[in-house]
Amino acid sequence: MTIGLTAAMAGLVGVPIVGYLIAPLFEREQDTYVAVGDLAHFAGGTTTLVKFEDPSPLAWAGQTANTALWVRRAGDEPVFQVFNVNCTHLGCPVDWRSDAHLFLCPCHGGVYYADGTVAGGPPPRPLFQREWRVDGGKLMVKTQRLPTSGGGAP
């Protein structure tokens, strides 16, 4: 009886607390597109860093609501590759070296070509890409969860 009552108490409090704690983890990915710039902003043959804010951040998120992406426009047609800045090895931010035509990672030395394929170092796969579309002369990019090379790979 005592054990039963104790277990019931634990359950009564435990279910809401566990639910509260893990609920954010199961939030659906929003199907939102965010404008990151006019088409004219991206010249053919360039790779550009774009920054935008999470469309629905928590009020206290501060700078962490910001996201950066690398946008590559290979030619003059409005065809893009939109890369996450995260290295596919362990997530550090890769930097585009415009003269060397390479992305370099500062953590463990991952290197990628302009098209995101691996040029050297430990990365197990090419840079993650985002879905994009052109709308009203602007490049729109889909918001997305943190991409990983493990079980959670998109």
Binding site: P57, G62, T64, A68, G109, Q144
Partner: protein, 471 residues
């Protein structure tokens, strides 16, 4: 004066029955051998405990000012470090105390391991201790994240990416680390609650068990070669030993206090002299130029992540720490008996030696981080290299820097160390070999530069490299 103290002591002693509770614990007998020089080996647990108390006290102090919100944490830490009275010292003590605690826990464990003190009947002491090690490392890591600067931000991303390597539940674990879809508004408060409530609660609980066992099972006597830990005879032997023992307080406790005092003095002096560690850039994910590094005691692990062979990452990232912890945890169950003295346990010496050598080597490698291309912003080749070059060679030398060759290749002692040293590339490689390597790349590390160079630039670069000849 003394009489008043004694009266107060007697009043409380009677009301709280201290004689047979606190008094009994303080004066419980320990092996008489601890009075000799060997007793100085038994002090590191107490020093670790003292450091934990220092961390709790300074942590509470920091929490009085620190604002655990992503838009304010960085500024509140800057305030603590630069404006608050004694804030820099307080943060400094917490920072150096964290390093000291990691070091002391490891020394304590090494001593217990080498003295064979984890064997029967003290297996549970060791197992609760290895859980305390885990909790200490978790505190050290989550504490670094609360710094909430650029390093902290990317460390969380790296932690999530590592968690994601776990089989089946990887994606779930990664979401758990960042508390949602991305590092953002919800992440910091979770790490804060974990660092100041969850893990400390676990540590207090484990400490209670650990200390209960230390008193209840008794401190192990110094091992003697040839005297084996035998579960049929040990308890009786030990009881006889304690009958001739000395009281823990004051005889043995004074050494604990002395070493703990030295440890605390070192930490406070470091904090006063060096102050709190500088914060990095703000935690803005759009600042792409970053160089994330963990604190010094995790640099060896950081290096390990760089040198894992391709394809084995997930196995090593998840498997190795799990295996290491499992080994520690079950060690006393697998080896509860046998020789205790280190002179009869060559494998124990080898294990400790190997661990120290490997982790030191990894730390040195991680500090140098020669696998990372160096920044070429504003870099120049040594004057001796460029002096007296003709026109195309001189242009090639400039390209060597501008096209980031210099980021990975050394020339005359300058430049990155990821790729081969090209100081005498002109003697080692023919004209065609130079051209082919630059255009096609080589192996897993040298990328192809075919898209990055015009034919003229390629010719200039090769012309420059051909001037690099050995004697």
């Amino acid at each position: 004066m003394r009489r008043i103290w004694r009266a107060i002591g007697q009043w409380f002693g009677l009301r709280f029955e201290l004689e047979d509770s606190v008094g009994a614990v303080l004066t419980h007998p320990v092996p008489a051998a601890l009075e000799g020089p060997v007793g100085w080996w038994y002090v590191f647990g107490a020093a670790t405990l003292a450091m934990f108390v220092v961390q709790v006290v300074t942590g509470v102090g920091l929490a009085m000012t620190y604002v655990p919100a992503p838009n304010s944490a960085y500024d509140s830490l800057q305030f603590i470090s630069q404006q608050a009275t004694l804030g820099s010292v307080l943060r400094g003590i917490h920072y150096f105390g964290a390093g000291a605690m990691v070091v002391l826990v490891l020394i304590h464990m090494t001593q217990v391991f080498l003295f064979g003190a984890y064997k029967f009947p003290r297996e549970a002491n060791w197992m609760s201790g290895s859980l305390l090690l885990l909790a200490t490392l978790a505190m050290a890591f989550t504490g670094q994240l609360l710094r909430w600067d650029q390093d902290a931000f990317w460390s969380i991303v790296v932690a999530a990416e590592q968690a994601a390597r776990a089989p089946v539940i990887g994606g779930f674990l990664a979401s758990l680390v960042v508390a949602g879809q991305n590092v953002g508004g919800a992440t910091l408060t979770r790490f804060y609650a974990t660092h100041v409530f969850l893990i400390p609660a676990a540590i207090f609980g484990l400490l209670a068990i650990h200390l209960y066992l230390v008193v209840k099972r008794g401190i192990s006597e110094p091992p003697v070669p040839g005297q084996r830990a035998d579960r049929r005879t040990y308890l009786a032997q030990y009881r006889a030993l304690l009958a001739r023992g000395i009281p823990f307080y004051p005889d043995a406790a004074v050494r604990d206090a002395a070493v703990a005092f030295v440890a605390v003095v070192v930490v406070v002096v470091l904090a006063v002299v060096a102050g709190a560690p500088m914060l990095g850039k703000p935690p803005d994910p759009t600042i792409i130029v970053a160089d994330p590094r963990p604190d010094w005691y995790f640099i060896g692990y950081f290096a390990l992540l760089a040198i894992i062979p391709n394809g084995l990452e997930s196995l090593v990232i998840i498997g190795l720490p799990a295996l290491a912890f499992a080994f520690l945890f079950v060690l006393p169950l697998v080896r509860p008996g046998g020789e205790r003295h280190v002179s009869r346990r060559p494998m124990a010496i080898a294990a400790v030696g190997l661990g120290v050598v490997v982790y030191t080597a990894l730390t040195i490698a991680g500090t140098a981080a020669s696998w990372v291309p160096v920044s070429t912003e504003g870099a120049v080749l040594p004057p001796a290299v460029t002096a007296g070059l003709g026109a195309p060679e001189s242009l090639g030398a400039r390209l060597f820097v501008r096209k980031d060759c210099f980021a990975c290749h050394q020339i005359a002692g300058a430049g990155g160390r990821r790729g081969p040293d090209l100081s005498v590339a002109g003697s080692r490689l023919s004209h065609d070999q130079l051209v082919l390597t630059i255009l096609n790349g080589k192996g897993q590390s040298m990328p192809s530069f075919a898209d990055a160079l015009t034919p003229e630039e390629l010719a200039e670069l090769v012309a420059f490299l051909e001037t690099r000849r050995g004697r």
